[in-house]
């Protein structure tokens, strides 16, 4: 990107709250049920129905606000956002317009070794719309559309950031940090693939050194954090090219197309709808007393930023490790529980970021779905550290522990995987290998060091990886000398 312009990005993140029931009725919020099986007169907006506010949703919104360092508003209210769409049964969405539940928060991010604090403008509570299912591939190519109102009325919070991000990379880091905090507090599942976390981005450019913001463009259809970053990168380039060519940016909403890697115009500012917001007469003001706020604050767990700092100072983890391990609450807790039993923190973090993460990826499991526990991992690492098993064996034993939850000591014992450090036994094997590979022996003696590696490999093969590699090396050199 050209150095002429400064990028200005602000994000609007929608996070569905993890309540069991919807915002204004008792219907389930379960994902993936048969269409229109989680609906009632209230969330279908049948005439005469009225909303009853879900207390848990308010608590989650307050908790998110506190975790994001916002000021919780003791007096907020709901408004109606009026627009017609078949997935919106009341033809208005209950949201909070001018008096949201939380204001003025901040989030810390770490990009390229630099710390930065980003502002959060506001958090407000609102309800989800239903879902249109089009008969064709897209809305224009469809003969008809069906409506599924299961999602309609699920509570969500919209978190609006300040225009504080200066690169797509910072936007990505902000999303990772935000998701991590929402997961820590367990207010949202944050599953982008199920739509429980969504993001719109606002981006503009201004000449470096300018104070006034440029004309902003809103990006929609950003279905992953990477998509946010890629769409922003594309948009920054597009705007820079326009500005370079002396053209002006149009204030508009643009749609990100993942397949083409481009954005295209959806509607201009002039076409933007007038939502005719007004206070919701069916719900009184939302009054949140300090005592309630204090109760909610008391149950907020240690948050990722604090964990990250502590992992560095208390366990001496490198920043990279601390970042990665602390970004997931489950991983961080697994880490600390393991370190309590096996104090080599770096070794634990290596295994968590390495083998453990790899197996989670391959199996598609969540951390708490794996059979392995901190106790089992600690036992395994102890055997490895003591030299009871080799690194190779440790990896294969871990695979089994991961899948079955079996005690690694038992696995090693049953399969006879303990490392052979018995010199007499290894001497016998080494001599046999030397006898069986005269060519390599000659090569080695003629100065080809590579031949030694081959011979070590043969010994390891013969012992099925159980031989202590250092000892094998010593013995081979001794007999070949």
């Amino acid at each position: 990107m050209s150095a002429k312009y400064e990028t200005v990005i602000g994000l609007e993140v929608h996070a569905e709250l993890r309540t069991k029931s919807k915002l204004f009725c008792s219907c389930s919020t379960k994902f993936g049920s048969e269409p229109n099986t989680q609906v009632c007169p209230i969330c279908l907006g049948l005439p005469g129905t009225l909303p009853v506010l879900n207390k848990q949703a308010v608590e989650y919104a307050v908790e998110a606000g506190l975790a994001l360092n916002c000021t919780i508003q003791k007096y907020s209210k709901f408004d109606r956002k009026n627009y017609f769409y078949p997935d919106l049964p009341k033809a208005f969405q209950n949201s909070q317009f001018d008096l949201p539940v939380a204001l003025n928060g901040k989030v810390r991010i770490h990009v390229n070794g630099e710390d930065k604090e980003l502002g959060i403008t506001r958090i407000h509570l609102e309800e989800e719309a239903g879902k249109s299912v089009h008969s064709g591939d897209n809305i224009l190519g469809s003969d008809y559309s069906s409506e599924d109102y299961n999602r309609g009325g699920i509570p969500l919070i919209e978190i609006v950031s300040e225009p504080d991000m200066r690169s797509p990379e910072e936007a990505y880091a902000y999303l990772v940090a935000l998701k991590s905090i929402l997961e820590y507090t367990e207010v949202s599942d944050c599953k982008m693939e199920e739509g429980s976390l969504r993001c719109d981005a606002n981006v503009s450019l201004r000449p470096v050194g300018a104070e006034k913001f440029g004309t902003k463009v809103e990006l929609k259809n950003l279905n992953s954090f990477r998509a946010v970053q890629k769409a922003l990168e594309y948009e920054v380039q597009r705007q820079a090219q326009l500005l370079d060519a002396g053209e002006t940016i149009i204030q508009e909403t643009r749609h990100w197309d993942e397949n083409t890697g481009k954005t295209h115009s959806m509607r201009s500012k002039e076409e933007a709808e007038d939502y005719r917001y007004f206070p919701e007469p069916d719900l009184g003001p939302l009054v949140i007393e300090q005592g309630w706020i204090d109760q909610i604050a008391a149950r907020i767990p240690e948050l990722p930023e604090s964990k990250r700092r502590r992992f560095i100072s208390e366990y001496g983890l490198p920043e990279y490790d601390a970042d990665l391990i602390s970004s997931s609450r489950k991983m961080a807790e697994f880490f600390e529980a393991t370190v309590a039993l096996f104090p080599d923190a770096k070794m634990v973090s290596n295994w968590l970021m390495g083998e453990f993460s790899r197996l989670l990826n391959v199996s598609g499991k969540e951390l708490d779905q794996a059979a392995v526990t901190p106790e089992l991992l600690a036992k395994l690492l102890q055997m490895l550290a003591k030299g009871t098993i080799s690194g190779t064996v440790a990896k294969s034993v871990f695979e089994e522990v991961f899948a079955t939850g079996k005690d690694p000591e038992a696995i090693v014992q049953e399969k006879g995987l303990a490392q052979i450090s018995d010199t007499a036994e290894l001497e016998r094997i080494v001599q046999a290998i030397i006898a069986a590979n005269p060519g390599s022996v000659t090569d080695f003696r003629n100065g080809k060091d590579k031949a030694l590696g081959f011979l070590v490999g043969q010994v390891m093969k013969e012992t099925k990886g159980r031989a202590n590699p250092q000892l094998v090396n010593e013995l081979l050199r001794k007999y070949l000398a």
Binding site: P47, R80, A91
Partner: protein, 484 residues
């Protein structure tokens, strides 16, 4: 005297003395409906089998010696904007002509707990917008006092049925006078409770911040009995107030000694028929003679009430009625080629002129350019009106005014003059704006023999004192208890 001519409390006592049965009462009502309904046309839907089966249950229980609620076996009708499970609820609109709710409104549930047989659903101005019942998409109801005249509105069917003896009592809803004005026109008692006293759950919304359900009855005692049955907080309507339950009949004493009656000069202005003003003043003098103290008061912002009302009510209605889009239920234009056209055609064809007029007004006053100058200003007026009342009630216990500027007008007389129709709401809208209780009680007739309604307003949750005053008016003017 036939059974249908009695009041609810008379019938209750007769049932308890075993002088009649619930089935006999219901049959008498159904017969009355058959005789006179072709002329009055108060009902959109009748539910004779529902009524009969409830009456049979009541008789069975009475036979077993059970003590039953006051309204057990007393047949009633509901305005057709109150949801009744399995019984169509049309709001007198083509939009909901075939809509059958899958759930009950709280008020209907409470009347079912009273074991009050449902005779049917009553005609109204479409979506409760109007003052003559001429805005019904189906037909106009006649005023039983003079069949050429309108019964008032929007709860015209509810008032006409009580006056015609085709229901012992009914429920109506009142957003700007829709219970009190038809009660005045038909010569019955109509009570609009304090906002938040009666649940709105299941009542199709017009203007949510002002809608309130209340009884239309033959006398004040019945109004208190029905209010006993329907009042009280409801977990399904969080705008209902948490308060201790009262027995409103306990307030009904023929005694107004020391009661301070406020007469606001702003309600006795030009435009209010002098005959009506005179009749109200005479009644107030009678109350004074009975020991009440009459106080001149002022509600200085009254002149802005109607204008502010016709901003706030349409604004809320434009949002409340947006859900009628043809997608899930209700009228749908089948010829539209796409969704947006379907919206336009369904709403264009499904709503009547007055409803469309108010949706347009409301959409406009909420639009970005008009919001501050109209909607916000109107809310300020609303606050001023509320403050007016609060100050007035420092000086008096109740406020007495005429209910309407005129008595019942001819059918068709004002149908093309919406502004003249809006003026019918002049004296009733302030109570809705301030959320206060108000009752209309008959206090005599004009020269044409048409009933005149006297309005009594009270402070929030002051139903007791307005009922008591109304009860005294009834005693002094001998207007109560009759189906004439």
């Amino acid at each position: 005297m036939s059974l249908y001519q009695h009041t609810a409390h008379q019938l209750r006592d007769m049932l308890r003395r075993q002088e009649t049965t619930a089935v006999e009462i219901t049959e008498s009502m159904l017969e009355r409906i058959e005789t006179i309904e072709p002329e009055v046309k108060a009902y959109l839907t009748t539910t004779p089998e529902l009524a009969r089966s409830m009456a049979r249950v009541v008789d069975q229980r009475l036979k077993q010696g059970e003590a039953l609620p006051d309204l057990a076996g007393i047949p009633m009708g509901l305005k057709d904007n109150m949801s009744t499970k399995g019984v169509r609820t049309t709001c007198s609109s083509k939009m909901l002509e075939n809509y059958i709710p899958p759930f009950d409104s709280t008020v209907y549930q409470r009347l079912m707990q009273q074991m009050s047989p449902l005779l049917g659903k009553l005609n109204m101005d479409e979506f409760a917008m109007g003052t003559s019942t001429e805005n019904s998409a189906f037909f106009t109801t006649a005023n039983p006092r003079d069949l050429q005249r309108v019964p008032g509105g929007s709860s015209g069917g509810s008032a006409a049925a009580v006056a015609a003896g085709t229901a012992i009592f009914t429920l109506g809803s009142d957003t700007g006078g829709s219970i009190r004005q038809p009660a005045a026109f038909c010569g019955v008692v109509g009570l609009k409770p304090t906002y938040g006293l009666v649940s709105r759950y299941g009542v199709v919304a017009f203007a949510s911040s002002m809608d309130q359900v209340g009884p239309l009855t033959k006398d004040v005692t019945d109004a208190a009995l029905v209010l006993n049955a329907i009042a009280g907080s409801d977990p399904w309507d969080t705008t209902t107030a948490q308060r201790e339950t009262l027995d409103y009949t306990a307030f009904l004493k023929p005694d107004v000694k020391g009661m301070r009656i406020g007469l606001p000069k702003e309600y006795f202005v030009e435009g209010v028929n002098p005959e009506i003003k005179d009749r109200i003043n005479q009644t107030v003098q009678q109350l004074a003679a009975a020991g009440a103290e009459v106080v001149e008061i002022s509600l200085p912002h009254t002149e802005y009430a109607l204008a502010a009302y016709y901003i706030i009510a349409p604004a809320e209605c434009s949002s409340n009625l947006a859900r009628f889009d043809g997608v899930r239920y209700g009228y749908r234009s089948e010829t539209a080629p796409d969704v947006v056209t379907m919206y336009k055609e369904s709403r264009g064809e499904g709503f009547g002129a007055e409803v469309k007029r108010r949706i347009l007004l409301g959409t406009y006053v909420l639009s970005a350019d008009a919001y501050e100058t109209y909607f916000v200003q109107a809310q300020k007026v609303r606050t001023l009106i509320t403050t007016d009342f609060q100050e007035a009630f420092q000086k008096c216990d109740v406020i007495i005014t005429p209910t309407t500027p005129t008595t019942a007008f001819q059918k068709g007389e004002k149908v093309h003059d919406p502004q003249a129709l809006y003026l019918s709401d002049l004296l009733t809208t302030p109570a809705n704006m301030a959320g206060l209780p108000a009752i209309s009680v008959p206090c005599g007739f004009d020269q044409a023999g048409l009933p005149i309604g006297l309005q009594i307003m009270g402070p929030a949750f002051g139903e007791g004192q307005i009922l008591r005053t109304a009860y005294m008016v009834e005693q002094l003017t001998e207007t109560g208890g009759a189906a004439r």
